[in-house]
């Protein structure tokens, strides 16, 4: 552009800029380092040695094969539920009901496991997986239908249904499904062996495969299929989606059902792969942490898996810290810090990218 040559006297000289991928990797790594740095300030201020605490956390999360197994076991429900909410968020549906969908998935799987009697694993395992997914999907379809046909805000309805689902679990584990031998402890009988998910590596159960398959499936769905295109269009602009001829209501139902099904799978995996019974508090808030996981991953399917492992490591590291006299809440604080810094970092990246793109667009604008 000819105008570019006529530099005005006060104009700043152009800086040499690093390539885009350096920016992208640098900003994200920097966000996480910054979160740990601020966490260190809080640790030091409350009289703990940050270096010692972080070392303990790292050991607790990855220091032994047992630690690695426990971290991966916790990453499975975070990844599955995280993928589910990421899918809904991509379409602009604020499904914050993964915790409830997870619980209903667990209930549905448990029903089969507890009533299967002498059925073989070849029948029970596919059955409880399917039931887990269907349970989560059904629980998500209630707010989906309300949203699609009556315009009810799904943030409120999905959030409230979490409590309904958790109370159903309580009702059953205290009542009809209570373990008769456990003197009113809030859990069910142990599942028969046929209802235990097979293990892949140590304690890591087959749910890990489901999470990887789901991530691959979602990446394919969003990136390469018509549905993915439609979902991204609806998420960006409902008016444009209607204009494009996309059946918006049907897509709301489909996406919420899939989102709920993934959370439901997470629930089925917990009861049949980890605790082998259904109990009160079967999830330490995986469905809520999944929301943070999805955002830190910027809704990208493979990134959800990675962030799920990171957050699972934080949870495990936090438990280890507790034994060293440091409150486990430090893990939650770090999760929140990471979310905050990653979102701030994404904002920074967007501005950097925008500047680049605007410059490119302007340089190309016709006279």
């Amino acid at each position: 552009m000819s105008t570019g040559a006529a530099a005005p006297p006060l104009a700043r000289p152009a800086r040499a800029e690093p390539p885009a991928w350096v920016e992208a990797v640098g900003v994200r790594a920097g966000s996480i380092v910054a979160a740990f740095a601020v966490g260190a300030v809080f640790l030091a201020a409350t009289g703990h040695d940050p270096a010692h605490a972080y070392r303990e956390m790292a050991v607790g999360a990855f220091g032994s094969s047992f630690a690695v197994e426990q971290t991966l076991v916790k990453a499975i429900p975070l990844a599955l539920a995280g993928l589910g909410v990421a899918l809904a968020f991509t379409m602009g549906l604020w499904n914050v009901g993964a915790e409830g969908q997870l619980a209903v998935g667990a209930l549905a799987a448990s029903w089969l496991a507890l009533s299967a009697g002498g059925l073989p694993a070849a029948v029970v395992l596919p059955g409880l997986t399917l039931l887990g997914a269907l349970g989560g999907a059904a629980w998500a379809l209630v707010p989906a239908a309300l949203r699609a046909y009556a315009g009810v805000n799904e943030i409120i309805s999905t959030l409230m249904l979490n409590y309904v689902a958790l109370l159903w679990v309580d009702y059953l584990v205290f009542g009809a499904w209570a373990d008769p031998t456990a003197f009113s402890f809030p859990y069910s009988r142990r599942f028969p062996e046929a209802a235990h998910l097979p293990r892949l590596y140590g304690d890591v159960h087959a749910g890990a495969l489901a999470a990887l398959v789901a991530a691959a499936g979602l990446a394919l769905l969003l990136g390469r299929t018509r549905w993915g295109y439609e979902i991204r269009t609806i998420g960006a602009s409902q008016a444009a989606a209607r204009y494009a001829g996309i059946p918006v209501r049907r897509r709301i139902l489909l996406v919420m059902a899939t989102s709920g099904a993934l959370a439901g799978l997470a629930g089925a995996g917990e009861v049949s792969g980890v605790i082998h019974r259904i109990q009160q508090g079967l999830s330490p808030g995986y469905g809520f942490t999944a929301i943070i996981v999805a955002w830190v991953a910027q809704l990208r399917p493979w990134a959800v898996v990675l962030v799920a492992v990171l957050f699972a490591a934080l949870l495990n590291g936090g438990f280890v810290l507790q034994t060293a006299g440091v409150p486990a809440a430090i893990a939650y604080m770090l999760q929140a810090m990471i979310l905050t810094f990653v979102l701030a970092g994404e904002y920074l990246l967007r501005r950097l990218r925008r500047r680049r793109a605007v410059a490119a667009a302007r340089a190309l604008a016709p006279p």
């Binding site: 602009s237 204009y243 190309l364």
Partner: protein, 521 residues
């Protein structure tokens, strides 16, 4: 405000067009650079008291950047601003207001739930904590009568029309003591009838010694209201000339840098066969009130029917019913001989109806998605773009590169997000997508509103070419000149019915004006 009265007495009405001593406002050698672009390149502009100074230029010429510098929204990289002979630094809109500069932005900044008086009181320093709007009401009435700006201080913003919002913005600026008023494309939100009302207001302000900077890219407005005109092109001043000394052609040449055909060649159309028909359509608007009340209209193949009317008489609802975005309560819609009443938007699109929507940024494109993805927005579900459930991105990219070249869409790449494109290029993209499949029916809603001369010309040519190829075009436009330039027949809509359909030869602006306001049988 006292400043205004004082300012008025010290600035006697000027003799027509004559220099009036020192300018009230001078911008000297303003340079503003954005990454990769020089938005203003040593721009010098002098504005006198008692003049309307038009700032003319195509989209992207640097008009808005310049007034944003003047209003303190951008800091210039170089240059100086002189108000009333004193050099000033304007770091924020607050500084600008203190210098007597007022701005009426293109997109109004009003609190919708508040009243007119509350909006105007907002930000006035001396208003009390309780009922801040009370004292300002008297002043609103006073200014409103002086300048002919009728406004009800107690009315809430959401109850008012865009033209009334504009009046409130002007009042707000005047009451804050503006002697220099900047209006950024003020007529883009107005119906033709309302424009003359605005011009009356500007003339009164001018007579009162105010200076008005009037940003536009419409040439007729320069002749109608401006005393002098400064033309910007690619960030530089081309010339400042008295408006009376230049004709339309000279202005276009200055703006565009070349001649543009002002009347497009048109082959006599051989209109034959029905392309689109609406029969006794009835439909409700978003609030559930009847918007279409038995509307009947037909468009033949190979003709353009212009739909003229004042905004809000059912144009939007008609377009939505015809394109499957709104349900018809009664009546039928036929496209190329097939009944498509209340079919889905996808089905009507597939039946051969192109739709160039009114809201191009929010409906016509998905701003965050790429140029290539937007180019298949209405056809992604068909081959070659879809293969079963998968999308063929190679085919999409090939198609995109073809369209970018054929329709001269200025974009760095097919993978650039559409939000980075200018309005004219977004519209080219929409036209490329809608016209590439050679639709038999084209429904174009305000296809050139807000676009500059060359983009408008490009779009007019495209519509005329498709008409010659046998498409039936329904052109909905508030720009009567556009309707008269393109249409074979002009249908006038009034309160949800077609008041009359005139051959373009019989359609004089006067006759259409009477039909638009329901005054003719």
């Amino acid at each position: 405000m006292n400043g205004v009265t004082a300012g008025r007495s010290s600035h006697p009405p000027p003799e027509a067009g004559a220099p009036n001593g020192a300018p009230l406002l001078a911008l000297r050698d303003i340079t503003k650079r954005f990454p990769g672009v020089l938005a203003n390149d040593r721009v010098t502009l002098e504005v006198r008291a008692g003049e309307v100074h038009a700032l003319l230029g195509e989209n992207g010429a640097g008009k808005t950047t310049l007034v944003n510098v003047l209003y303190g929204l951008y800091q210039p990289d170089a240059g100086e601003i002189v108000v009333d002979g004193r050099r000033v630094r304007i770091r924020s809109p607050r500084d600008a207001i203190a210098c007597g500069i007022g701005m009426v932005p293109q997109h109004f900044l009003l609190v919708r739930r508040h009243t007119v008086a509350e909006n105007i009181a907002l930000g006035l320093p001396q208003e009390g904590l309780l009922r801040p709007a009370r004292r300002v009401e008297r002043r609103i009435v006073e200014f409103a009568t002086r300048y002919g700006l009728t406004a009800d201080p107690g009315a809430r913003i959401w109850e008012l029309s865009p033209s009334e919002h504009q009046r409130v913005e002007i009042l707000k600026a005047l009451i804050r003591g503006a002697r220099i008023l900047v209006l950024d494309e003020p007529t883009s939100v107005l119906a033709p009838q309302e424009v003359s009302g605005l011009f009356d207001v500007l003339r009164r302000m001018k007579g009162d010694g105010h200076a008005v900077i009037f940003i536009t890219h419409k040439l007729d407005e320069v002749g109608a209201i401006a005393d002098r005109v400064t033309v910007l092109r690619r960030g530089r001043v081309v010339a400042t000339v008295p408006a009376a000394d230049v004709d339309r052609r000279a202005l276009v040449q200055m703006m565009v840098g070349r001649d543009v055909e002002s009347t497009l060649p048109r082959a006599r159309a051989a209109a034959a066969g029905e392309a689109l028909a609406a029969e006794a359509l009835e439909a409700d608007n978003d609030r559930g009130a009847p918007a279409l009340r038995g509307l009947t209209l037909a468009v033949r193949r190979g003709e353009i029917v212009g739909l003229a009317g004042i905004a809000g008489n059912g144009q939007r609802e008609l377009v939505e019913v015809l394109t499957g975005l709104r349900r018809a309560v009664r009546g039928r819609v036929r496209v190329l001989g097939r009944d498509v009443t209340n079919r889905t938007a996808a089905a009507i699109c597939d039946a051969g109806v192109a739709h160039i929507p009114e809201d191009r940024v929010h409906m016509g494109v998905v701003a965050t998605m790429t140029v290539a993805e937007n180019l298949v927005l209405r056809r992604y579900r068909h081959p070659p773009f879809a293969r079963g459930p998968l999308l063929d991105y190679d085919a999409i990219m090939r198609f995109a590169r073809e369209m970018i070249a054929a329709y001269e869409i200025a974009t760095p790449a097919a993978t650039t997000p559409v939000r980075l494109l200018s309005g004219g290029n977004i519209q080219r993209l929409i036209l490329a997508r809608e016209l590439a499949a050679r639709p038999g029916v084209i429904i174009a809603a305000h296809p050139t509103s807000g676009l500059d001369v060359s983009a408008t010309e490009h779009i007019h040519r495209l519509l005329l070419r498709r008409r010659e190829e046998g498409a039936g075009v329904l052109l909905v436009s508030e720009d009567l000149d556009e309707v008269l330039a393109l249409a074979d027949r002009v249908a006038v809509i009034f309160r949800g019915r077609i008041a009359d359909v005139l051959p373009v030869g019989d359609a004089t602006p006067e006759r259409i004006g009477l039909l638009m306001t329901g005054q003719a049988a």
